[in-house]
Point group: C2
Chain length 336, copies 2
Amino acid sequence: MTRLGLPDADAATVASLMAEADLQGSDGHGVSRLPQYARRIKAGGFNVRPDIKVVSDWPATALINGDNGMGHLVMKRAAELAIEKARTTGIAWVNSQYSNHAGPASLYASMPLKHDMIGLYFAVGNANHLPPWGGLDMLLSTNPIAAAIPAGEEQPIILDMATTVAAYGKVKSKALRGETMPEGWMIDRAGKPLTDPKRADEGMLLPLGGMEAGYKGYGLAMIIGLLAGTLGGAAMGRDVIDFNHDDDSVTNTGQAVAAINIAAFGDVGVFKASVDALVRDFRNSERIPGVERIFVPGERSQATRAARARDGIPIPDALMAGLNKVADDLGMTRLA
Amino acid sequence: MTRLGLPDADAATVASLMAEADLQGSDGHGVSRLPQYARRIKAGGFNVRPDIKVVSDWPATALINGDNGMGHLVMKRAAELAIEKARTTGIAWVNSQYSNHAGPASLYASMPLKHDMIGLYFAVGNANHLPPWGGLDMLLSTNPIAAAIPAGEEQPIILDMATTVAAYGKVKSKALRGETMPEGWMIDRAGKPLTDPKRADEGMLLPLGGMEAGYKGYGLAMIIGLLAGTLGGAAMGRDVIDFNHDDDSVTNTGQAVAAINIAAFGDVGVFKASVDALVRDFRNSERIPGVERIFVPGERSQATRAARARDGIPIPDALMAGLNKVADDLGMTRLA
C-alpha cells in the first residue's frame, strides 16, 4: 500500500482492516482484493492522498466526503465520528459519499461494540447483479446490511448479510468447482431457474426470499440503497459503477454507519446480561433431528477468527500467485 | 373504544390508526382486531387509562414506558418524539417498553414522511412462531421491519415486511380456503416441508430466505428483536406473551421508531428528485416476459388506500358478525 502511494498511516489502516476481514473468514473481502485494488490505484481509480472531509455536521448526524479515497479509510472515520457523537446524543448516523469498496460490512458495524454501543452498517454494493422484482435490468447491487450487538460473557451477535439469496462470489466459486447451483440462487431472462454457474452472465441473482418471497429481499436492497447511497448523494441504481470491470471511473460509493449508545436506554450491564441469556436460550433450545448446534449470527466468524489468529490465514495457490504478481509489479519481495 | 373505557382523545387516536390500517389494505391489523382488543380490555390485559411516560431522555434518543396502554397510543407518541428530536439532531431513535400490539409497522414508519424525514420502525411481534435456525423451540416472532422514504412527485417508498417467508395470517387464510401452502412457508418438526395449513400447529414458519437462506431471515428477526425489545427492556425470546391465546398478561411489548432528517444530509428537493428518478427508472426498466408492471415497495398499498378512500372498506361477513357481537356486548347499535 505504501509502495502504491498511500501515506504510511493510511496504508496501515487499510492493511489491518483487510487482514481483519481474512481473519474472520470474509475471504472475498480481504487480501484477495489486493490485486484489484493495486490495478485500480495504478489506473487512477482511487485517490491515494484523499482529503476526507465532513461536509455536513449536525449533532447526531454527519455526511463525509471520501474524496475517492479507499473505502476503509472513509468508513473507519465515519464509524469513529458516529461513536463520538453517540456518546452524548444516544445515537448517531454518518453517511459517506465519494467513498469506495470498504471490505466486509461487519468490520464497521463492530467498531461501536467496545464502546458499549450497537453498530449498524448499510452499503451500496460495487456492482449491480439484481433487477427490481419482476424485472431484467440489473439496477440494484447485493446491498448488504450488518448489525453488531454487544453481549456480556458471550461473544457479540454480529449479522452481516447480502440482501440476495446467494452472494455473487458463491456463484463464481460454484463455477470454479464445476458444480451446479441449487434452484433459487439465480434466474434466467425468462424468469426460469438458472442452475449452471457457467451461464451466470445470462442470468440474475434472486433477492433474499427467492422465487416465493423475493419481493422482500428486493425491498430491503432498495431501502438499503436509498439509506446508504441516495441519502448521502452517492451512487444508486443506474449510477453504480461495476468496479470489477472498470478500473478508473470514480465510483461515488455510499455507505452509512450508525452507533446506538446502550446507556441511553438503561443499564449497560442489565442489557448485556439479557443478551447473554438470550444467546444461551437459543443455543440450548431443542434442535431439528440431525442438527448438531444452533448458532447465533456471527458465531462462526468469531470461531474462524480465533482459529486463524492461532493457525494463520490459508492463502489458496491462485491467490498467492496473484499477490506475488503484485509484488513483482511493484518491485517488492515475493511472499512465498 | 370510549365504551370500553378509553378517554375520548385516545379512543379517536386508536380508531383512526385502525381505520388507516384498513384503508391501506393491512386487513389483519385494522378493525379485524377489534373483537380481540375488546376481549383483552375486558379481561384487564390492556390499561385503558395509561400514564405513558418518557423514562429515559437523551438528545437523540428516548425510552417510553407505555404503562401497558394500547400500542397505537404509545407508538404515535414515540414517533412524534422522534420527529421532534430529529428536527435539531438530524436523527432520533425512540424505544418503547410496556407497549402493546400497535397495528401495521408502516403506520409509524410513515409518520416522519410529511416532515421531510425518513422513518424506520422495528417491532417484537406478539406471538412466537419462529424457531432459531435449525431449532424447534419457537423463540422468535415474525418481527417486522418498516421503512418509509419520501419522494417528490412520486408516492413515498414504504416497505413493511415480516422477517418470515409468509406471515402467520396467510397460513390461517389458506386453511380457511381449504388450500395447500407452497413448499417453503413452513416446516414440520422433522425439518420437512409442511404444506397442509390445517397441520400448522405441528409446524413452524420458515424465516425469510426459506430452506436455502433462512439463516438470514433468522438473523434479521433476532437483530430486530434485540433492537426493538431487549434494548428498551421489553420482552424478547421466551418472555414474549402469545396475545392470541392470553388475554390478561402484561405483554411488555417493545418497538423502536427512528426519524432521519433529510436536511441534515443535503438539499431535500435534490433528494426527492433522486428518489423520483429512481422510482421511474425501476418502473420503466425491462420486465420478465409475462410481468405486467414493476412495483416499488408500498405502491400497491397506496393504490389500495386510494381505492378504499373512494369506495369504502370491504368487511367480510364473518368480521361483521364479530363486530356486531362486540356492539351487542357493549349495548351499542349494530353496524349492519
